[in-house]
Symmetry: C2
Subunit: 344 residues, 2 copies
DNA sequence: CTGAAAGCGCTTACAG
DNA sequence: CTGAAAGCGCTTACAG
């Protein structure tokens, strides 16, 4: 007839026993009342942690409910973002996880402080977050990290702080392969229309480009390297700048398909035929590359797989499993289509 | 000293009183136990509704937390879906609402029964749902409706049951304007590549098309009307069928831009020049119409606005406000680009 | 600031 | 299938 200890979930009474206080006192601490002495509060908090106490609400929230992961984009206005999202959603269906979607928009200056946002994630019972590119700054990622909220960043613009896990693609190898392809076709004047100068992925692509040039003994021409944004406008303006040069390039490697699409549009306006007058290679390998006219040679990133992998890593972290690595790079591969040809 | 009735949240005991049963019986109904007579269950359910009872969990969930709306797509693989989603997300940011994203995929045969899914929505404390096109069938919509879960359907494939609110665009007027445009250019043999025959929006576009023909005294040719799916494949196959006819059409009105894109691709393969040999108009007016080569004449739907409106209506219903109408149609407008021209 | 006592709201076990 | 009774786990009101 003796009471069996340690069976079932710990109750508030058990926490009280552990802390050597009464149940009402524990109740006060849990509910954030002020009228508890600092020492008592500390003992209660220790007991709460030691026993792993969960309030009925927390229990209910945790228990039957489908776990929820938050996915944060700075914008959904790109085929890139949509493909990553599709990968996340696909794996979420497999794992029976719910997805809270958050689009921050340009104004990274949110109303919420990093601390409050992290607290909210905790309050709402999220198991973790997937952050795509630059949706959150270092301060925010740090706040998540300090509270042990599992976070995975896809294609971080800057190296994420602490031990935050990131997923990307082999950008350097991809940049090298696209450039090598153009070199093999016989091009020597190859321009690079890049993404933001500070973005890791764009830097890697640039250095892959330079590595390919150097390996072929082709000098790097600074005039041919134009950083910008991953948007068609950059392709439009970039092409105009390149056409204004004394020595025009015969080929362009664009750091994203969206940039390449801008080049394509501007080339059409300027009556420059692609690939006859100018070869063009992109990066990302979204359906837009395939559907473009002419179809775009592009370095394909496994975007869906990156989304899936990010979710896998969030869930693993949430389960307390160790990850093999803080940084995962999935392979890119060059897909040759119609937009590249030997120079005239 | 008399007990004040009706003050504070209704308790389980109050529900029991209302239903004329004991508290344990109400508890059983709430917790989905089987051992309750059907008649008793019905009375308890009525009392639950009448009193507006919320379990402590529901109460806590509802209280400090940011309200959450669930958005359900059958697929995210279309520019259409992405634009609607963008509209929803934009308004969600304005209203400070969270968005749970759900992509059902082709298998509308989910593991969850309609009842259980509706229960889950309630348990998780969603304020309501936005359902895009055919993501849920009638049985599911009905289950939501019976539990008074606010639902708004965007572009329902079938007329939604009960008083479920739906948002769409002026499909009939759009179909008429596209066809009238082709007629004005001088076309008389105009084909219609439609969406699913049972889909309301496709029917409306078809009847707009027929109305325009009739108004111009042009006979409707059944061979020119081919229903299908809102995907490029339908455009590819549809064009092949039309080319096999003795009297080939000189213009095609496609019920979506994605269908038109398929026509465009197949026309290129067959060396049919658009608009020189064949005029082509689409529907949706997504960025894909603009970026196509040649740029696609298309009936623009205000997709973002439809997403925004859907969220507004969900929130209004959740607040218990009355809506002016169960069906809202936003205006479409024809955007003439490069893919339509007079017949040769 | 603390806790014994009372109380609240719901659930469980079981007699009928 | 139903409900009186007992019980559970937490919170509240208040004496000290």
């Amino acid at each position: 007839m003796s009471t069996v200890q340690g069976v079932g979930r710990p109750t508030l009474a058990a926490v009280a026993r552990e802390a050597g206080v009464s149940a009402p006192t524990v109740s006060k601490v849990i509910n954030g009342r002020e009228d508890v002495a600092a020492g008592t509060r500390a003992r209660v908090l220790a007991a709460l942690e030691q026993t792993g106490y969960q309030s009925p609400l927390q229990r209910k929230t945790a228990e039957g409910r489908t776990p929820t992961v938050e996915v944060v984009f700075d914008s959904l206005n790109s085929a890139y973002a949509v493909e990553v999202l599709n990968g996340v959603m696909e794996h979420a269906a497999v794992e029976d996880v719910q997805v809270m979607l958050n689009v921050t928009g340009r104004q990274s200056a949110s109303k919420l402080t990093p601390e409050r946002r992290a607290q909210r994630i905790l309050d709402e019972g999220r198991v973790g977050l997937i952050v795509v590119t630059s949706a959150f700054g270092e301060a925010q990622l740090d706040a998540f990290y300090r509270r042990h909220i599992p976070v995975v960043v896809i294609d971080p613009l800057n190296p994420p702080p602490g031990d935050v896990v990131s997923v990307g693609a082999s950008n350097w190898a991809g940049g090298k392969s696209a450039t090598a392809h153009l070199l093999e076709l016989g091009h020597r004047r190859i321009a690079y229309l890049g993404g933001p100068a500070e973005a890791e992925c764009s830097q890697a692509r640039l250095h892959g480009y330079m590595a390919a040039l150097m390996a072929s003994g082709v000098a790097v021409n600074d005039e041919y390297i134009i950083p910008g944004v991953f948007r068609p406008e950059h392709g439009v303006r970039g092409l105009r700048k390149l056409l204004a040069l004394d020595e025009r390039p015969t080929a362009i490697f664009a750091a994203s398909d969206s940039i390449a699409l801008g080049v394509l549009a501007e080339a059409r306006r300027q009556r420059i035929r692609i690939p006859d007058d100018l070869s063009l290679a992109g990066f990302d390998g979204t359906f837009q590359a395939e559907e473009a006219v002419p179809a775009l040679t592009s370095v394909a990133q496994p975007l869906q797989e990156m989304g899936r992998a990010a979710l896998r890593f969030v869930l693993r972290q949430a389960r307390g499993e160790l990850l093999d690595s803080r940084r995962v790079e999935l392979a890119t591969h060059l897909v040759v289509r119609e937009s590249t040809a030997p120079p005239r």
